[in-house]
């Protein structure tokens, strides 16, 4: 009880001081920030309609490479934490009962649509809201639907590893090509095209497609690892 009172007092102090600091920053006011520079440069020099994409992939492209690496690291450590040795008699079935007919038929209809939506989101990442991470997450949702609907739906981890590796190599390879052409790492070396057309922005579209594939493969792998290695029936200390 005394602990809860202490915690509430501490949170009240933190919240009050945070609020005091935040009230110094006027809400909704135009400020001269680095954002103005980006807003000016992204349609003119990069020919990218979506400035957030321009920042994430071009101005801070190196940071995004690190972000993708963090995601990869999380998937790897999750797999190694959740790993459990296969035994005799282990059957790779997730649910005890099969799912209902409605879910099975509905999943068949929805699955291709969701995959196409995800692909659309990451292909048009430089034109519309969205991008590689969002599109990849949408595709991973589709595979989650299949995994919880069909007890025997299997995700091939070999394929996932290949997709992941190729997408990562494409990302780094594009960056290195910039270096080979005498520019900086991840600088644009392709033709820019016209603003608001699909083939605009040079390397940004290609990088976001690669990121989309990578994120989709990684999230699908994460979901599959958690579902497969989490059978509650045997309580061994392994």
């Amino acid at each position: 009880m005394i602990k809860k009172v202490l915690v509430i007092a501490l949170i009240a102090v933190i919240g009050f001081s945070l609020m005091n600091v935040m009230l110094q920053i006027p809400f909704g006011e135009k400020r001269e920030t680095v954002g103005d520079y980006y807003l000016q440069k992204s349609p003119q020099e990069l020919k990218v309609a979506n400035s957030v994409t321009a920042i994430v992939v071009s101005f801070r492209g190196f940071d995004t490479l690190g972000e993708v690496t963090v995601l990869f690291l999380a998937a790897m450590s999750l797999a190694s934490i959740m790993y459990r040795r296969k035994r005799k008699g282990d059957i790779e079935i997730r649910a005890k009962k099969p799912s209902s007919r409605i879910l099975q038929v509905g999943a068949q209809i929805i699955f291709p649509m969701v995959v196409v939506l995800g692909a659309y989101v990451f292909i048009h990442g430089h034109l519309t809201p969205g991008g590689g991470f969002q599109g990849g997450a949408i595709i991973a949702t589709a595979s989650l639907l299949m995994l919880i609907t069909y007890r025997k739906f299997k995700v091939n981890h070999n394929t996932i590893t290949w997709i992941e590796s190729i997408a990562g190599i494409v990302f780094v390879g594009i960056g290195m090509t910039g270096l080979l052409k005498g520019l900086t790492f991840l600088q644009n070396f392709l033709e820019l095209g016209e603003l608001n057309s699909l083939l605009s922005g040079g390397i940004i579209g290609i990088i976001y497609v690669a990121v989309g594939f990578k994120v989709a493969a990684e999230l699908t792998g994460v979901i599959d690892t958690v579902l497969l290695n989490n059978r509650p029936d045997n309580n061994d200390n392994n």
Binding site: K3, I11, E29, S51, V52, R60, E67, A75, S77, L78
Partner: protein, 119 residues
């Protein structure tokens, strides 16, 4: 009116952070602690995006309908939040897998009963 908007936007974000912090500090169940971390994440993202808002601004996307007179919100906090969401996902995934592992080992998710966490 402006003051009210400021207080409501920043206040919501800070309230979310406070709720998450309470869950992390006071709850006994490991799962609830991880949920608290996620709530703190959400509050921080809201705070970032609220700071970047410009009155009357549109999304920072130069679609053909945009004229040069249109005001746009600051794209930098949005890009930062995009990164932060992905990192938040990674943190939540690894934390949950550790919780599952602890549960498998101790048959409980309560931090009071997991004695070897104490020092």
């Amino acid at each position: 009116m402006d003051q009210l908007l400021t207080i409501s936007f920043y206040g919501t974000a800070i309230a979310l952070i406070a709720v998450g912090l309470y869950a992390v500090l006071a709850k006994k169940n490991l799962l609830k602690i991880v949920i608290g971390l996620s709530i703190i994440d959400g509050g921080l993202h809201l705070l970032f995006v609220a700071i970047g808002y410009v009155k009357g601004g549109t999304a920072p996307i130069f679609s053909p309908e945009i004229t040069s007179n249109d005001v746009m919100v600051d794209p930098v906090p949005q890009a930062l939040v995009l990164t932060a969401i992905v990192i938040g996902f990674a943190v939540t995934a690894v934390a949950l897998s550790l919780v599952i592992r602890l549960y498998r080992h101790h048959n409980t998710a309560s931090i009071d009963q997991i004695k070897n966490l104490k020092w």
